[in-house]
């Protein structure tokens, strides 16, 4: 009995907690609520897993696509940099003339490197690669032209700049025509940019639906705990005290869903890795799938937590005020 009255003011008055008491009490409450909300998920494992799975799966799809698109743009960027222009010289061009052209090309400022592959050398290469020997003995003359392999400087590698350069090179005297295999690159770049737009749109739509799903789950939680909320308000709980467990639940959904998405992305990429590498080999590119680093993990988790929090916040803002003791 006496214990119960310990610390009571002699003149009863409405006690407002001091700032320090509020901060300390608030801190204790937050720790309790963070753990309690996790326990709450544990109490209804099936429902929780479903919500987490929805969140996880919804984030997995755009994340995987994003990483794939990002990787392909990196690869194609790499291809662009290795890009060369092959200048085929006219048939009658002599070796001296070819060397002259080589020199004038080398003097151009846009050029990083230029190499002459003579007709003879080209034929030897052809024989070596095809396995056909003594080709020349069947032919009256070497049908191959001299070729200048031009490597433009980095800043002239972008598709349009490279095309301008090509036009200039083609105007040189002994040049028959030049070849810049850029169309497919342009197409690929365009496709990739569309793909990346689509990924963003899918991601946006999925994120919105995740927010709605979490919001609805939290709304149901709030309605289920209506009685409890009323009692808590009656004994002096602030709106925030009631609000936070639901927000923490949202954050937990996000965190667990994000982890799930991460593992799924890792698994999916591992699954398709060998296929991608085989594909890359066709283009003779050294290719390692990248993007599964700490940054990606942080982004995925951060995004998932944001979505969970946003969904629960919307729900909590709307529904907790409405529940009042009567």
């Amino acid at each position: 009995m006496s214990l119960l009255f310990h610390g009571r003011e002699t003149t009863p008055k409405v006690r407002k907690q001091s700032l320090w008491q509020r901060i300390r009490g608030g801190f204790t409450n937050h720790i309790r609520q963070i753990l309690a909300s996790l326990g709450e998920l544990w109490r209804t494992p099936l429902a929780s897993i479903m919500t987490i799975a929805v969140l996880g799966l919804s984030i997995t799809l755009p994340s995987t696509l994003y990483i794939l698109v990002k990787n392909s743009s990196q690869v194609t960027a790499g291809w662009g940099q290795a890009g060369e222009i092959s200048l085929y010289l006219k048939e009658q061009t002599t070796l001296e003339q070819a060397n002259g052209t080589l020199l004038s090309v080398r003097l151009m400022t846009e050029i990083a490197d230029v190499e002459l592959i003579t007709a003879e050398q080209a034929l030897l290469d052809f024989e070596a690669q095809s396995g056909l020997t003594n080709t020349l003995s069947y032919l009256d003359e070497n049908p191959l032209p001299h070729v200048l392999v031009v490597t433009p400087k980095r800043e002239h590698l972008a598709p349009t700049a490279a095309e301008h350069l090509l036009e200039r090179l083609e105007r040189l005297t002994h040049v028959d025509f030049g070849k810049l295999d850029i169309e497919w690159l342009k197409r690929l770049t365009a496709i990739l940019s569309i793909a990346s737009d689509i990924v963003w749109i899918i991601a946006l739509l999925l994120c919105i639906s995740v927010v709605l799903i979490i919001g609805n789950t939290i709304r149901l939680n709030i309605l289920n705990q209506r009685e409890e909320i009323i009692v808590m308000k009656l004994v002096g709980a602030t709106d925030n005290f009631i609000r936070f467990p639901f927000l923490y639940t949202g954050i937990w959904y996000g965190l667990l869903g994000g982890l799930m998405a991460w593992f799924l992305v890792v698994f999916i990429l591992w699954w398709i890795q060998s296929g991608i590498e085989a594909l890359a080999e066709l283009y003779q590119a050294d290719f390692v799938l990248s993007g599964l680093d700490l940054t990606a993990l942080t982004v995925i988790l951060g995004l998932a937590v944001m979505l969970g929090l946003l969904g629960s916040y919307i729900s909590v803002q709307k529904h907790i005020k409405e529940i009042e003791p009567k």
Binding site: F5, P12, K13, Q17, E227, L234, V235, E324, K326
Partner: protein
């Protein structure tokens, strides 16, 4: 502690629950509120605990005009009012201990402090041995006592009770009323709505009587024979 100034309450459905009610309960006082069913007893308690707002007039708690109170301050005023409800308002999926601990948890007290206080409160209502049970498994009277323990656990300056002995047998009712007296002796202001006139008669306390929303009597219960003495006007 409590002051009603010309308070009228009409519910949104048009039911007139209170008409021009004036009274004051001073700090440290213990008073009963009685009247027929539907007289407006619960309405008065709901106005004090901010569950309803007066249609006309002012309610003061410790000098706070409740009409002026900002929404976000309501919880802090409620923490100073222990409330015992007609319907117990317990959380059935939590233990007795957790129910009683709720007001302390809300204020963010340490676990140690909470255990001490809850044990003391449960001791007081004789339910120490049932603290780990769910209120579901308790009798109506036991549930009522859990509600009482929760109302007094943070030692509020004011205790409100709406039919606190509604489900209790006469012996237990008397015990509970004696408990209220003990609490009152320690300085807690106590305001109890009840129509248990027998009990009121046994205890010599101020009794306010409502009839159809009007305060018709404010008297000191002098003895057990139903003889009442009107209080001098300045004590109302």
């Amino acid at each position: 502690m409590i002051k009603f100034a010309n308070v009228s309450k009409t519910y949104s459905g048009g039911q007139i629950a209170l008409q021009k009610v004036n009274f004051e309960v001073k700090a440290g006082e213990m008073a009963f509120l009685t009247g027929h069913s539907g007289a407006g007893k619960s309405t008065i308690l709901k106005l004090i605990s901010l569950m309803e707002r007066p249609s006309v007039g002012e309610v003061f708690i410790n000098g706070h005009d409740l009409n002026q109170l900002r929404r976000k301050d309501i919880p802090y005023v409620r923490r100073d009012i222990g409330m015992i409800f007609q319907s117990h308002q317990l959380l059935m999926d939590r233990t007795v201990f957790d129910n009683v601990a709720l007001p302390l948890v809300i204020e963010g007290y340490s676990r140690k402090h909470i255990v001490r206080r809850v044990s003391a409160a449960l001791e007081l209502v004789g339910l120490r041995n049932k603290q780990e049970l769910s209120p579901k498994t308790l009798s109506g009277g036991e549930q009522q006592r859990v509600g009482i323990a929760r109302a007094i656990v943070n030692n509020p300056p004011l205790l409100l009770a709406d039919e606190p002995t509604g489900n209790l047998d006469p012996k237990l009712s008397l015990e509970i009323f004696h408990l209220f007296e003990q609490l009152n002796n320690r300085g807690m202001s106590i305001f109890i709505a009840t129509h248990d006139l027998g009990l009121i008669a046994r205890m010599k306390h101020r009794t306010l009587t409502l009839n159809q929303g009007r305060m018709i009597e404010d008297a000191l219960q002098e003895d057990m024979f139903g003889v009442t003495t009107k209080l001098p006007g300045d004590m109302r």
